[in-house]
């Protein structure tokens, strides 16, 4: 029993473990999913925010540029209508171009550099050059007047052909100390007022407008001529970024995009956008590098939060699963207990049943065997007695003795046959046919036999039944029942007594009642028990099978046999048979 309890506890523990594991898996999955989604959302949000920020900053830059470009266009349109500029270009007096323009563009070049917020409006140029009809730079006579440029930088101003609209470009100037900076140049076409043709172009160089850093930590620069200029970053970082950009920008179709880079150890989002789409100048890109530190911190925070929530959930899940397991396992426990008891009980019942069945089988086999074993010697015995009786050399008293012995062998045979019948019934081998049997005739025949029996006491027989009462059954067995009851009625009668036999149909049954005078059967005595012997000493005694056999047979016929009453010198048995449909009718 102790091991059973242990096993039960183990079962419950296993169930609880399984439940908790399932919950843990669910919670862990949810947490992981939450983390993944949150991470994706934070990353996407950060990227979108930064992208918007980049776009906003670029668009503000773009607006400033447009202002500057519009102002420049105005200036250039005014400039080219100037007679001297025209005269210089049209009348092949290139040498007079710069001197002529000097006065016109004086305000562009003079004065202090304006503060950045006014840079767009003030049109403060660093240098300017004219392009000739082939797009080559017209060398100024006095570079001091038009902003000095080294030959390398000046060469970058040339175009393959004269533009017919404003072109934006970015030129790189290297400083002697190895550094460099980028200047924005705007090439404005000069149209002949006479012919409308583009006769020249004015290329004006400006300090590039800077993206206003609304976003903290944002660093902006320009990628031009295959070189990144982002002074806020260290040179080595610029070089590594430059390589990445060169690969990315090799595909000229991409005018705008972003990607992640690591500057130092800090992750950054690098945005780029072409500054001069469709320009005759080489492509240049605005580069903005945004630190992802904020979003990383946010992500970190969120990770902790979600992780913490997951852990809490797990803890709660642990407690909940514990409780649930306890609650769930209680009935399981009970069930286990109950089923164990049931099992034990069933086992016991089964064992009892098995032993009973074995007993029964044994006894049945025994009685069957015994009957068979007995029958043959009795037959031999009887035939011996009969042949002795056939001899004529014995004294008369020997014949009488032999006759009594022969009578006893007959009785013995009937007992054996009864036992055989009983054992067959017990073994369930007895099949009762359901034929119409004329009960009236059967009873009459047996009553006649009863009269014919020797040494029959002086009893009076009363018959109270009509003829033609048919019952369903097999004649030899119904006959056995009737014989048994009538023999008992005679056997246990008193001298001068009477036997009354009555029968009547009762619905679907036919009830046969046999009563006799004589000693009473004491109450509580089970006369239907097999091998029963009366507690009251009596001269007439049976072998104790008859009533048992009769009742078993009655029951096999779908009826029953019972003792109706016994007392006051009157004992009455009632046997019930099934009536044969349509033969007796409804009485």
């Amino acid at each position: 029993m102790n091991s059973a309890v242990q096993a039960r506890d183990k079962d419950v523990t296993r169930f609880r473990t399984r439940l908790f594991t399932a919950m843990m898996v669910i919670v862990a999955t949810l947490t992981a999913l939450g983390l993944y989604l949150a991470q994706r959302k934070v990353t996407a949000d950060a990227e979108r925010n930064l992208q918007q920020s980049f776009q906003a900053e670029l668009s503000s830059l773009h607006k400033l540029e447009e202002l500057r470009h519009a102002a420049l266009a105005d200036r250039c349109n005014a400039l080219v209508t100037k007679s001297r500029i025209h005269a210089a270009i049209e009348d092949n007096a290139i040498d007079l171009l710069y001197p002529s323009a000097k006065d016109e563009l004086r305000d562009l070049m003079e004065g202090e550099e304006p503060p950045p917020e006014e840079a767009a409006q003030s049109l403060h140029a660093k240098f300017y050059r004219f392009l000739d009809s082939k797009g080559a730079v017209i060398k100024p006579l006095n570079p001091l007047d038009v902003g000095e440029l080294d030959a390398e930088t000046e060469a970058q101003l040339a175009l393959d052909k004269l533009p017919d609209k404003q072109q934006i470009g970015y030129v790189q100037q290297n400083t002697p100390n190895g550094g460099g900076f980028i200047d924005e140049v705007i090439a404005v076409p000069i149209f002949s007022t006479d012919t409308g043709d583009v006769i020249s172009a004015l290329v004006i160089g400006f300090k590039p407008l800077e993206v206003e850093a609304k976003h903290t930590g944002m660093k902006s620069g320009i990628w031009a001529n295959g070189q990144l200029h982002l002074p806020a970053l260290p040179t080595s970082t610029q070089a590594s970024l430059n390589n990445k950009l060169a690969g990315e920008l090799a595909d000229a179709d991409k005018s705008e995009n972003y990607f992640r880079v690591d500057v130092g150890d800090a992750p950054q989002l690098l945005f780029y956008k072409r500054l001069n789409p469709a320009s005759l100048f080489p492509p240049a890109y605005e580069i903005c590098v945004y630190p992802l530190a904020d979003s990383m911190a946010q992500l970190h925070r969120l990770r902790w939060q979600i992780g913490g929530a997951g852990a809490l959930l797990l803890l709660a899940g642990f407690v909940a699963s514990h409780l649930v397991a306890l609650r769930l396992s209680a009935p399981v426990k009970k069930l286990a207990l109950d089923s164990e008891e049931n099992r034990a009980r069933r086992k016991r019942a089964e064992a009892a049943l098995v032993s009973a069945a074995q007993d029964l089988e044994r006894s049945t086999r025994y009685s069957a065997d015994a009957s068979h074993q007995l029958k043959s010697p009795v037959t031999v015995f009887r035939i011996g007695l009969e042949s002795l009786l056939g001899r004529e050399d014995f004294k008369p008293e020997v014949y009488e003795e032999l006759s009594t012995l022969l009578h006893q062998t007959h009785r013995l045979t009937s007992v054996i046959e009864d036992l055989l019948l009983l054992s067959r019934m017990d073994a369930g081998h007895l099949q009762i046919a359901s034929d119409p049997v004329d009960l009236s005739q059967l009873v009459n025949e047996w009553l006649d036999d009863l009269d014919a029996l020797p040494e029959s006491p002086d009893v009076k027989i009363e018959k109270e039944f009509s003829t033609g009462l048919f019952i369903a059954g097999e004649k030899r067995y119904t006959s056995l029942i009737v014989q048994n009851l009538l023999e008992n009625a005679r056997k246990y009668n008193r001298p001068g007594g009477r036997i009354r036999v009555s029968a009547h149909g009762n619905g679907s049954n036919v009830v046969l009642t046999i009563g006799n005078t004589g000693g009473t059967i004491p109450p509580g005595e089970n006369i239907f028990e097999r091998f029963h012997h009366s507690s009251t000493p009596s001269a007439a005694s049976g072998h104790g099978i008859g009533l048992n056999l009769a009742r078993e047979l009655a029951r096999l016929h779908g009826g029953d046999l019972r003792l109706v009453r016994s007392g006051n010198d009157w004992t009455e048995f009632e046997v019930r048979f099934s009536a044969v449909d349509g033969v007796n009718g409804v009485a």
Binding site: R84, A87, E90, D91, T195
Partner: protein, 214 residues
Amino acid sequence: MRLRGLLWLNAVLPTLPVALLASAAVEGRVELPKSHSAPVQAKRYEVVTKGGVLSTQPPLAVVYLEGAFPQSTSLPTKQVRQKDLTFVPSLLPVRVGTTVEFPNLDDTYHNIFSYSPAKRFDLGRYRQDDRPIPAQVFDKPGLVILRCDIHEHMRGLILVLNTPHFVMTDTSGHFRLEGLPVGHYTLKAWIDSRTTREKPVDLKSGQTLHVDFP
């Protein structure tokens, strides 16, 4: 005036022996570009640019005899006036060495200048009553494009020629050059800044050669 002269010549020439004049003449017609603008009521000539080519409107040509001629010491001073924001005349042929005055007849400032290779000058701003009248000596042959720094549309042309023998055609292209030396020369017709036609001529004393520039 010129027409009357021509008529007079036509009347006189048959009666006079040509040899007595000891000089030759050339007459003919220059095929002028078609004028696309409506006839100008007031005879106002302007210099226009078409495809970078300057010409007068309505079209006029200058016919001149090219050759080596002795320098003249005293040349009459010519004038290109600024009147109603145009140059008058719009096209002036002059001999090398001629002084041209640029009187301002308008009520506004003018600033006449030229960046032409033949003559670069800048008269600066001046008014009607500024004296002396700004003037320039044109000492190199070629086309001088006159511009005004203040009035960008103003264009004038001075054709500086290395010959004393030149004449402007009338609006239909007819011309006549008289008093030409005898001999082999090249007769040229300046039609616009990019077009000058030429024909060799063999001038004989007393003869009037007929030359047409198609």
